[in-house]
Structures are given as structure tokens and as C-alpha cells.
């Protein structure tokens, strides 16, 4: 994507359900292209999407989608966005092609165009052969696909996908991720993928906004977030006083260290010192280094660091 202006911005947004605050003073910008909205269950991801669609009115703050104000132009926004909800959702009593065409007409497409688009989009999501079956007879994976089809039928500029791979088998999941990636990288549709699954976000998205407990923990391009100012090492040691003791000693020396197995740990060494600093610390603690391997940082590292989990 050449245009990297944000498609969605939130400015000090707070959403409360009674006394419970689902989003607290959230400020974030979602760049054009594919952006992951990452966070554990209950972090506030779905609430954020529903607030952006105008389903929930924030108690404070302002939101803009595709340059339009959510509070004053909700219908204009919804004409240009698609929404794939997290849970099962369909219009009862319709077959797939009628349902998708109906959604197209609701979004403002003329009847004939809506029907043509419905056929095209159903083929695109892989439901071409099943398009005359009623949606109630679909499997979970097929229901996920038809939710994507109804979100795409009116050719939105931005699609919100809430947990798009929920309940899908591995093959179906891979196909769904391919579709999402294709939409954002080849078809020019901006995509915001809400998920608690790191591999899904890492595969489909270029940017990520990590939220936890209703606050933004970190955000930015995934590549730069994974690029630490230092190096990550996987380390296996033999420590006379125990691995935990050595982990504490490394932490005491200012290194970010996580024990992954009995005698294996992942250590982040900031700056340029690299492995030399690790060897020096091990030598001073009379710890034998049995194995040392530079490790590639993953989105999991970014996420764990952002939300403070080990």
C-alpha cells in the first residue's frame, strides 16, 4: 500500500458498560492495509469494533473511520465498511446467494448488481458450489465464509474481521487467512483483523495494535516491533544453584529473560554487546553455557512484552 494514512483513528476513547470500562482512554491509529487488533479474550477488541461501527456510543473521546466522524456520519461510514461479526450471524430462511445479495441491496447496490456481486463474492470465498443451500445447513467453516461474503458484497474500502478463523479446521483456517491476506495485499481492501491468535495476525497483517485490559499496550508495524534494539538468544545452561537462580541473576543484570524449559531460557540482550555479555555473566556466576543460539524475535515476544506475560 502506497497510502499509509490511517484509515481509523481513536482519540481518548472510553467505553463503559455500567461501572465496567471496556476501553479506557484509548488513542490509536490504524494504518491503511492490513492491521491486526490483537489482545487476549476480554481485552476490548470487539468493543472497539462495535464502537467504530456506531453500535456502542463511547462515554468519551472521538473516532474517525475513513476520514469520517463516527458520531456524526455513521451511515456514511457503514456504506464504505464491511463487518464480519465474531459469532454466527445470518438472515434466517434465505439461501446463501439470496442472503448475500440482500445484504448488497441493504448496502445500497441495485438489485441486479447485488445479485451479480453475490455470485462473484461467494465464488471468491469458496462457497460457489454451495450458494443455493440455506445458510442454516452450513458447517461452522462455511458460516465463517458467508459472513466474509456478506461483508464484501458491497465492495467496502475497509473490512472489520472479528475473529475470522473462529471454529475453523486447519485447512479452512489456512484458506481464510489466504483470503484475508489476498484482500489486503492484492485487492486494495483495507482490513482490520481482530484476533487473539498471534499466528493469524502475523500472517495476514503488516501492522498491529495490541490491546490489553481496555488499553493500548503497543502498536506499529509488526516488522519494526519485532526488531528489538538488541539480540535475542536461546540459552541452555548448567547452573550449580539452579536455572531459576541464574534467570534471576540475569534479570538483576538488566536483561529480559524467560525460562522456557528446565534448563533453557530466552534472553534479550539490549545494545550491541550480544553474546559476549552473556558469557561474561555466566563466567562470573560459575555457570556452564552448554548451548547458545541467536533467536528470531516473534510477534509472540512483542505481545508478551506488551501485555506483561511470560
Amino acid at each position: 500500500m502506497a497510502d499509509r494514512d490511517p484509515v481509523v483513528t481513536l482519540d481518548a476513547v472510553t467505553v463503559a458498560y455500567g461501572a465496567q470500562r471496556a476501553l479506557q482512554d484509548v488513542s490509536a491509529a490504524f494504518a491503511a492495509g492490513a492491521v491486526g487488533l490483537l489482545g487476549p479474550n476480554g481485552a476490548g477488541k470487539s468493543t472497539m469494533i462495535k464502537a467504530l461501527l456506531g453500535f456502542i456510543v463511547p462515554t468519551a473521546g472521538r473516532m474517525r473511520v475513513l476520514g469520517r466522524d463516527v458520531a456524526s456520519q455513521p451511515l456514511d461510514i457503514r456504506a464504505h465498511v464491511g463487518y464480519m461479526p465474531e459469532n454466527d450471524a445470518h438472515i434466517p430462511g434465505m439461501n446463501a446467494v439470496t442472503f448475500v445479495a440482500y445484504c448488497g441491496e441493504l448496502a445500497g447496490l441495485p438489485s441486479a448488481d447485488a445479485m451479480q456481486r453475490a455470485h462473484e463474492v461467494l465464488f471468491y470465498v469458496g462457497l460457489g458450489e454451495a450458494r443455493y443451500r440455506t445458510v442454516e445447513t452450513y458447517s461452522t467453516g462455511m458460516k465463517q465464509r458467508i459472513k466474509l461474503a456478506q461483508a464484501l458484497v458491497h465492495d467496502p474500502d475497509l473490512v472489520f474481521l472479528d475473529e475470522p478463523t473462529n471454529g475453523m479446521d486447519p485447512k479452512g483456517r489456512d484458506e481464510m487467512l489466504e483470503l484475508v491476506r489476498d484482500l489486503s495485499h492484492n485487492k486494495g481492501v483495507n482490513v482490520i483483523v481482530s484476533s487473539h491468535l498471534l499466528p493469524d495476525v502475523e500472517y495476514t497483517c503488516d501492522d498491529v495494535v495490541v490491546i490489553d485490559k481496555g488499553r493500548v499496550a503497543t502498536s506499529g508495524p509488526i516488522a519494526s516491533l519485532k526488531q528489538p534494539r538488541g539480540q535475542v538468544f536461546e540459552l541452555r545452561v548448567k547452573a550449580p544453584e539452579g536455572t531459576e537462580w541464574f534467570v534471576e541473576r540475569l534479570r538483576g543484570a538488566g536483561l529480559d529473560c524467560t525460562a522456557t524449559e528446565e534448563d533453557v531460557m530466552r534472553v534479550f540482550v539490549p545494545g550491541e554487546a550480544g553474546a559476549r555479555e552473556l558469557f561474561a555473566l555466566a563466567a562470573s556466576a560459575h555457570v556452564q553455557v552448554r548451548h547458545l543460539r541467536p533467536s528470531v524475535p516473534t510477534l509472540e515476544d512483542v505481545f508478551a512484552k506488551a501485555v506483561g506475560v511470560e
Binding site: R78, P85, G126
Partner: protein, 280 residues
């Protein structure tokens, strides 16, 4: 790796209608769905049988001097609309109970409201479905009877002598249909089960009528008819058609009761028709 199912997703370059017309899409789809049901078509045909009877009555009164006592008047039209209440009841349940309830059960509200349509448009679309069928068994046959009277008699005399009849039929039918349809939509938004909604509606109509019956049996005072929705509508109908009434209930009080019912229905719809259900 290229997408497995890429059948050529294309951007759309055609025309889009501006927001504000989605209610008609909802209405058309709902009407089509109901007309595809044989049982419902059967119910509609049955609802038109009184129209056939009244047509024969008008024909007999016009053609046979011995049947002149059957000649149509304002009371005949009022009675016709009162007879239609039984069909109004069954069609309201058949066509109305599932209008919002089934959407709630299938989580369709978030699909609808993620499109460029407001909650008011959604409700109006659903209202149009029910109102269209209710008017089809009240206003439409009543107006047809008026036309048939003109055609059979071959003169406009009756129509001119009873010039108030067309507006009376129209105003009363629309008040009746609006009150009933709003109440049913509100009930439909309260549950995910259309069967339960049907029971609720039956209870609302019969309970209010039974309560009024009990109060009347004790007090012998029909001024308390405002308790019953049916009595309120009948009193308003009697006043509009300017025919003798069975109720001592005042028309303004009956009108207030109907307006209160519609306001309560609107309040329920405002709370229940949302893209997300918030349980605080």
C-alpha cells in the same frame, strides 16, 4: 502461494443508492418470504371471505327489492371492519411474531445495522411488512366494497351521500393497523422465539379484554373500557364512523390509551433493537 479460491474479486464501479431506502428492501424481502408460504396465502384467502359475503349483500340489496333491508350504510362498513378483527389477530401473529424475534435468534441485527441503515429504518421496514398484510385484509377490502357498491348500483349517490366513509375507513384502518403492528413488533423484539411472542400477544389481547370483562361484570361501568386494547379501538372506530357505541368510554381516553400503547411499543423497540446487546 496464491489464494485458493481466487475467482477474481473485482472492485464495484456501479451506482449506489443513497442511505434512506433500505427499509423498502427489508419490506420487499419480508413480503416475498411470507407470500411464499401456502398456509399464509390460505389465511389471506379466508380473510377475504367476509368481503365476498358483503359483496353478495350489496348485490342483493341493489338488485332485489325484497332484500332492500340489506342496503349498505355506514354501520355495515363499521361491522365489516369489526368482523375483520379476527383475521387481523391471526395475521398479526403469523406475520408479525417472527419479524424481529427470528433476527434476534440468528444474530441478524448486527448484520442489518452494520449496513448503512438506521434502527428507525430497520423498524419501519419490518413495520411495513406487517402493516401491508393487515391493510390488505382491512382497508383494501373495505375500500373495494365501496367501489363495488358504486359499480353494482351504477351511481355515485351512495358515495356522495356518505362522503365521510372513505376517510373513515382509511383513518380507522390505519389507526388500528398501526397500533396492532407496533405492539407486535415490540413484543417480537422481546424474545428470540416467535412462538413465545405469539403467546405473549395473545395474552396481551385476551388478558386486557378479560380484565375489562371482570371489571365490567363487577361495576357495570363501560367507562373502564380503556383497560382493553380491543375496546379502545372499537370505541375509536364507532366515533369515526359515527355509529351508536356499546361503550360509555370517552373517545379521548380511548385515544390516549392507544397512543400510550404505541409510545410504550416505541420505547421497547428503542431499547431492544440494537447492534449489540449490552448487559450492564
Amino acid at each position: 502461494m496464491s489464494p485458493i479460491h481466487d475467482q477474481g474479486y473485482r472492485r464495484y464501479g456501479g451506482q449506489r443508492t443513497p442511505p434512506g431506502r433500505a427499509w423498502s428492501v427489508i419490506a420487499k424481502a419480508g413480503i416475498r418470504t411470507l407470500l411464499a408460504k401456502r398456509a399464509f396465502i390460505g389465511l389471506l384467502i379466508m380473510a377475504w371471505l367476509p368481503f365476498v359475503v358483503r359483496t353478495v349483500q350489496i348485490y342483493a340489496a341493489t338488485s332485489l327489492p325484497q332484500a332492500a333491508f340489506l342496503a349498505p350504510d355506514a354501520r355495515m362498513f363499521r361491522q365489516f371492519l369489526e368482523q375483520q378483527e379476527v383475521f387481523l389477530f391471526f395475521i398479526t401473529i403469523y406475520a408479525g411474531a417472527g419479524l424481529i424475534a427470528t433476527d434476534r435468534r440468528a444474530n441478524a441485527l448486527q448484520i442489518y445495522l452494520s449496513k448503512p441503515l438506521s434502527r428507525v429504518e430497520y423498524i419501519f421496514g419490518k413495520f411495513t411488512i406487517l402493516a401491508a398484510f393487515l391493510l390488505l385484509v382491512t382497508w383494501v377490502p373495505a375500500v373495494f366494497l365501496l367501489i363495488i357498491q358504486i359499480v353494482i348500483s351504477g351511481s355515485f349517490k351512495f358515495f356522495i351521500d356518505n362522503l365521510f366513509l372513505f376517510p373513515a375507513i382509511t383513518i380507522f384502518s390505519f389507526i388500528q393497523v398501526a397500533a396492532v403492528a407496533f405492539a407486535m413488533l415490540a413484543l417480537s423484539s422481546l424474545s428470540n422465539s416467535s412462538r413465545y411472542v405469539g403467546i405473549l400477544y395473545t395474552a396481551l389481547i385476551f388478558f386486557s379484554q378479560a380484565l375489562y370483562g371482570i371489571v365490567y361484570a363487577i361495576t357495570r361501568d363501560s367507562r373502564l373500557g380503556w383497560i382493553s386494547i380491543a375496546a379502545d379501538l372499537n370505541r375509536i372506530g364507532d366515533a369515526i364512523f359515527n355509529v351508536p357505541t356499546r361503550f360509555a368510554l370517552s373517545v379521548p381516553l380511548a385515544a390516549i390509551a392507544v397512543v400510550a400503547l404505541m409510545a410504550a411499543s416505541a420505547l421497547v423497540l428503542e431499547k431492544r433493537v440494537r447492534g449489540v446487546e449490552v448487559v450492564a
